[in-house]
Amino acid sequence: MRINSRRRSAAVAGGLGLVLALTACMPGDDEGTEGGGGGEAAGSEECEPFEQYGDLGGTTVSVYTSIVEPESVDQEESYDLFEQCTGATIQYEGSREFEAQLLVRIQAGNAPDIAYIPQPGLLQTIVRDNPDAMVPAPDETEANVDEFFAPSWKEYGTVDGEFYAAPLGANMKSFVWYSPQMFADAGYEIPETWDDMIALSDQIVADGGKPWCAGIESGDATGWPATDFVEDVVLRSAGEDVYDQWVSHEIPFNDPQIVEALDEVAGILKNPDYVNAGFGDVTTIATTPWTDGGFPILEGECWMHRAANFYQNQWPEGTEVAEDGDVFAFYLPSMTEGTQPVLGGGEFVAAFDDRPEVQAFQTYLSSDHWANEKAKMTEAGGWVSANSGLDVENLATDFDKLSSTILASPDAVIRFDASDLMPGAVGAGTFWTEMVNFFALDKSSQEVADAIEASWPAS
């Protein structure tokens, strides 16, 4: 799956309620600086890049997203300069029920101006089901995307040859979290190949430890972290061409190569010697919240936890994420020499109106200018972009720099999260639930693949 604050926050909703209440009480400070006429509030030098958008004073652009507190704070701050210089107001609304509510709003004729859609599959569904709702991206946005993004990213925002949505943030999912201190004390090396990683796991078992910990519980989206693991393995064991065929259903879901990948996952996550360090037996993977999945690393009970770059935000407060800190992540090694498959994700900026201020904002978000602005506003780290105009030095943490470097590496073969590309019945349905059954009911790889294939929509 993808970065989704809704899910993360859903798991900690109790504690977050307080935070929400607190932040809801103090919206004042950035309101004060904005809302003036065109270009009077900020310095003229800062505003120079905004001249191309013209004076948008008095206009409002509504933005609807799945990015909620705390991430939304940085997100909104990154629009301040745009608001000050152009005079437009950005009306930001984050929702934990984004995916369901966006469709409802579109069907009710009440679509937002702009929505950040994290699943290209959903983007396609919207365009095909509601032909008049979404507006193709303006030429300026397209020019930005051509300049700053790899062609595959543009492809994900394109439906039936028409370019609609530019990428916003990105995430990099092929990471394994570990404790540098524990590795150093035990004399373990960071594995360079898949076989090294398995050998290391066996070594840890031989030394009396349990190497892996995992958790895939995520409310009504339970199962998605396991789909990421499977996708990462398919990308490594079968290669990116098979991956593409798998996503587009040119080969069935229960193709032997996919079943093989599931077996490979089972070899790690369903191996009672390997898991579930700190939580219990294999079935606890299904009930452990994904937000807590890596915590046993901090207690020295678990050695490795495969999770995306945004897991960085899940570590308890005070955890130092650094190569010499409490936790850090290494790249999930590839299975063949000389390739660097990367599983990624991200949001896409779709517009439902073509007023000038909407198009201006769309264009701004696709620019290198915004990417750097956002990087500067994300003081605590936890955000990267696939925008090649992003200056890595602007990123807050070493870890974000690592993520960004891997995403931008010329060797990287980046593929988008498969479950976000597949039809909803699979990608947000049976793929999740069958992965839960994979662990909870000990269904075999073949049974899981067969069940998902059976649920693939006919048309």
Binding site: E99, A100, L103, V104, A108, G109, N110, T125, D129, G219, D220, A221, T222, G223, F279, G280, D281, T283, T284, A286, T287, G424, A425, A428, G429, T430, T433, V436, N437, A440, L441, A451, S455, P457, S459
Partner: protein, 342 residues
Amino acid sequence: MDYLREYFSWLFGEIGDFLTNATTTPHKLTLMVVVILLFVLVMGGILFAVDKPKRVPRWAVTAGFVGPAILAVLFGLVYPAIQTMITSTQNRNGTEFVGIDNYITAFTNPQFQVVLRNTALWVILVPIVSTFIGLVYAVLVDRTRFERLAKTLIFLPMAISMVGASIIWRFVYEFRPAERPQIGLLNQLLVLLGLDSQQFTLNPPTNTFFLIAVMVWIQTGFAMTVLSAAIKAIPDDIVEAARLDGLSGARMFRYITVPSIRPALVVVLTTIAMGTLKVFDIVRTMTGGNYQTSVIANEFYTQSFRINEQGLGAALAVILFVLVIPLVVYNIRQMRLAEEIR
């Protein structure tokens, strides 16, 4: 129809915008005047109608009282119900007519068969168990010294929302390996007894029973209250006569108490059954419908909104609707019977 819908959504959009989005001062003032005028108009109309009762024909009065309710029911209930039935015969996004394909899927796909089985378990177990416990409890505490306290205790869960109750019970069922400090009450008890801790919400099919326990916990209070009132309403002379005839204890309960409160029992059973058919919150909060615990209402939401299979979702809603109808009919008939007896 589409044109009408568009027109209404535009009209309501404009009006709603005017009524809720007052940002400038003149707009706010105009809005104030409009609202005052509306108030004067409505109040004036009412006062006028009250003052001149003879001038208003009977049909107008009837229409005035019943009309709004009928309109609301038509718009809010009948229209969506028909729309849902139509949607249920269409494909994922309503572009194609598929006949009864969605219903066939709902009844033949193993995934949905589990859902139907669970719903059946819920509808059978929750009313029977909670009514039984409620009845026995009501009889046991009836006319004892601590009746009020005992009743309050069992009634308390009624005051907790389904979601709240589910979160409480999630903590009760919370799992940790036996060798670790426990968070869950139930597993702590097991560990104290020297047993292994259990994954209560994970292992089917028993996990459904643990979810059902939550609903029973909530509904027992309702059953107890209604039945207790019914028991108190049994005329003293009947009880007296029975006692003179030598009835007591279990036989009194079997031959006097239960037959006397039969209408109340039926109403309680059917009311709880209807509530149970619609259960959604408990399943969604505790397991999210995972681990084979899903029920129709939860699956309907998942299909319609998360997976965006609107035809299938609508079909599930219609199945739920059809299942509720006999219960509602029976419930209403029993209530009428009870009223006639009174």
